[in-house]
């Protein structure tokens, strides 16, 4: 039987957190993983402003709460208030540059400004932190570009064993037979 898994979602947005508009990015991340992952899932959701200290504190909190995956949305561009990658680098013990490369590569198929994204990913204790873009469409595109590497990554950091729903094929693990 598959392990339970806890997934953390951090929406970083000055406007959404102050009620100017509703956060649609956080829910987009939740529906992406709900549709894909067959494990029983618990969610931790935080809506905060684009603030470095709150980002740092919230990533640490969700890691302490044993989230295997922590996805941020927003704050990865070149503007002054964009500080999500900096906060991610601050808290992570290891940075995984392949995630940023892969996500920019996917996004470049849709918009030339994907070059401007500074999104990255890294490991904090037993959590994989992934920076996602702000727009729901771009969130799904980026996750499609990296999702097949996530279950084995979580194995390597001693998290729960993730499984995909039948229609997505077996989660890839090197050395295990695929039945996709």
């Amino acid at each position: 039987m598959a392990d339970n898994v806890k997934i953390g979602i951090i929406t970083s947005s000055d406007r959404a957190s102050s009620g100017v508009y509703e956060d649609i990015s956080g829910p987009a991340i939740k529906s992406y993983f709900s549709e894909r992952i067959s494990n029983e899932t618990e969610w931790e959701y935080r809506l905060i402003p684009d603030d470095y200290d709150q980002l740092v504190a919230t990533m640490r909190e969700l890691s302490d709460l044993k989230c295997a995956i922590i996805c941020t949305t927003g704050g990865t561009g070149p503007a002054k208030r964009d500080v999500t990658p900096e906060a991610t680098e601050e808290v992570c013990e290891k940075i995984l540059p392949g995630f940023g490369e892969a996500m920019r590569k996917v996004s470049l198929q849709y918009v030339p400004t994907a070059i401007l994204s500074r999104q990255t990913a890294g490991i904090l204790k037993n959590s994989l932190i992934i920076n996602l873009p702000g727009k729901p469409k771009a969130i799904a595109e980026c996750l499609d570009g990296v999702i097949d590497a996530i279950p084995f990554c979580i194995d390597l950091i001693e998290g729960p064993r993730l499984e995909f729903r039948e229609r997505f094929g077996k989660a890839f693990r090197p050395g295990e037979k695929s039945k996709k």
Copy 2:
């Protein structure tokens, strides 16, 4: 009417700066942007040796002079005197790894040694700094790989609104209709 824009060019070369040969890289950057950008443009041009301190000081000077774009040429390889990326990382508040990735990807279509380039880009106040290679042909190839992301990047760092000349199509901005 389009804003005026100021573009800075820093040629970093021991030999060109000491008069051993003429700098052709700086002028190649100028003609690339002149041909592409339709805004009224002012230029700041500096020819300096491959020297870390002078690179740092010159990037800061051109940013203080309100250059929206600052292009360097030279000094991005693995040799001892190649220190342009280090100087760029020193002055920039944010590094944009997508630029280096995109430029290496383009150059790899021409030479396998493109892997050796450490070129990067970043934000210093209201300036986008981009490291370009030394050879005019490679300069144009690299700029072709990133030019479509530049106008929106300059918007995000609160610089002037850049426009392309008619034949290059409308400068891309997410959410704006393209008429290319």
Copy 3:
């Protein structure tokens, strides 16, 4: 006549170094270069645990022994004991991000988990240090993705002039005629 060259190989593996199994990764690196490089070659081989301090000390030792190329194998993943990229960044004066990008790109053709590799490369004095994966098949794939940039890189850091065996074509050097 071609220069002699010294190549260093560092296998970083807790289990191989404690005798649990035999190291097959180090020998795979040796046969790759033996087959490709026509220079007279001397080898320095070290088998050590996944230990940061020993990695740092061993890379420095092999650089002091004038190895033009130092390849590591193992320790580039997201797990706690994976510290090879950290040790590489500690000793290197310059990091060459194009190597990691190119190697991940090649490996992604074979396994989606290539995204998880944090492998990098850099320059320590007159040595090019390259992090390779642990599996012999992946070692050859990654080296295929970067080998054509290595001879010119070694020229730039004032190492010996590397040549390829006839059947691989002339080693690429910008500005030199190819006779491939």
